[in-house]
């Protein structure tokens, strides 16, 4: 079974703080993704990575950065948290290759910025 774990289930931070969200997958997947989920908007892609040290912007990258130093780990960084970044953050991973489409998700981190 693929397992994707996220470092925290719930997080409360203050405006302006630097926030790190960690994600680890144990299936040697090439691709990793960060999404945020907001009511009525579904899941929106923030950043993704196809390989170690590679990163690509998704649909809503503003205010975020990422790091992938090891294949199994993908970190999302909020440089200076703002209240509009209060959301559910979901990490996912998938195999590489054209035949791969299924993404496996972690349980999510609910971040509240006050």
């Amino acid at each position: 079974d693929v397992k994707v774990t996220q470092s925290s289930r719930y997080l409360v931070k203050r405006t302006g703080e630097k926030v790190f969200l960690e994600c680890v997958q144990d299936m040697d997947h090439e691709n990793m993704f960060w999404y945020r989920q907001d009511p009525g908007l579904g899941l929106r892609l923030i950043y993704f990575s196809y390989d170690v040290k590679m990163k690509e912007k998704g649909d809503i990258p503003e205010g975020y950065s990422v790091s992938r130093e090891k294949k199994e780990r993908f970190s999302l960084i909020l440089e200076s948290a703002s209240t509009n970044q209060t959301s559910m953050y979901l990490c996912a991973s998938s195999l590489g290759g054209a035949d791969s489409y299924e993404q496996y998700f972690g349980p999510g981190t609910r971040l509240t910025v006050t």
Binding site: V4, R9, N31, F33, Y35, G40, L41, G42, L43, R44, L45, F48, Y50, E56, G58, L90, A92, S94, G96, S100, Y101, E102, Q103, Y104, F105, G106, P107, G108
Partner: protein, 111 residues
């Protein structure tokens, strides 16, 4: 501009009856469509998929239909069970294994 839309935010159905969830898309380059199911406080889990070259895929109680000319897909759950109560997301794949998700439909199956 949302490329994948689920126009019904919620659906209520009686246990044993059919649940039909709908999804519309605008991008003709999508090559795979997926449905995910999400329970509260859990990540989404993959349910069923369909290639853009097919018009139907069935897996047990779940069937997905694709109408490419209408850019429309639907998920049928028959018979619906209380454990099916969850939020369902439609997703579509583009180049690079990126998925674009719809806004979700909350399904409530009443016993």
């Amino acid at each position: 501009d949302q490329q994948v839309k689920q126009n019904s935010p919620s659906l209520s159905v009686q246990e044993g009856r059919i649940s039909i969830l709908n999804c519309d898309y605008t991008n003709s380059m999508f090559d795979y469509f997926l449905w995910y199911k999400k329970y509260p406080a859990e990540g989404p889990t993959f349910l069923i998929s369909i290639s853009s070259i097919k018009d139907k895929n069935e897996d047990g109680r779940f069937t997905v239909f694709l109408n490419k000319s209408a850019k429309h897909l639907s998920l049928h759950i028959v018979p619906s069970q209380p454990g099916d109560s969850a939020v369902y997301f439609c997703a579509a794949r583009t180049a690079g294994n990126k998925l674009t998700f719809g806004g979700g439909t909350r399904v409530l199956v009443k016993p």
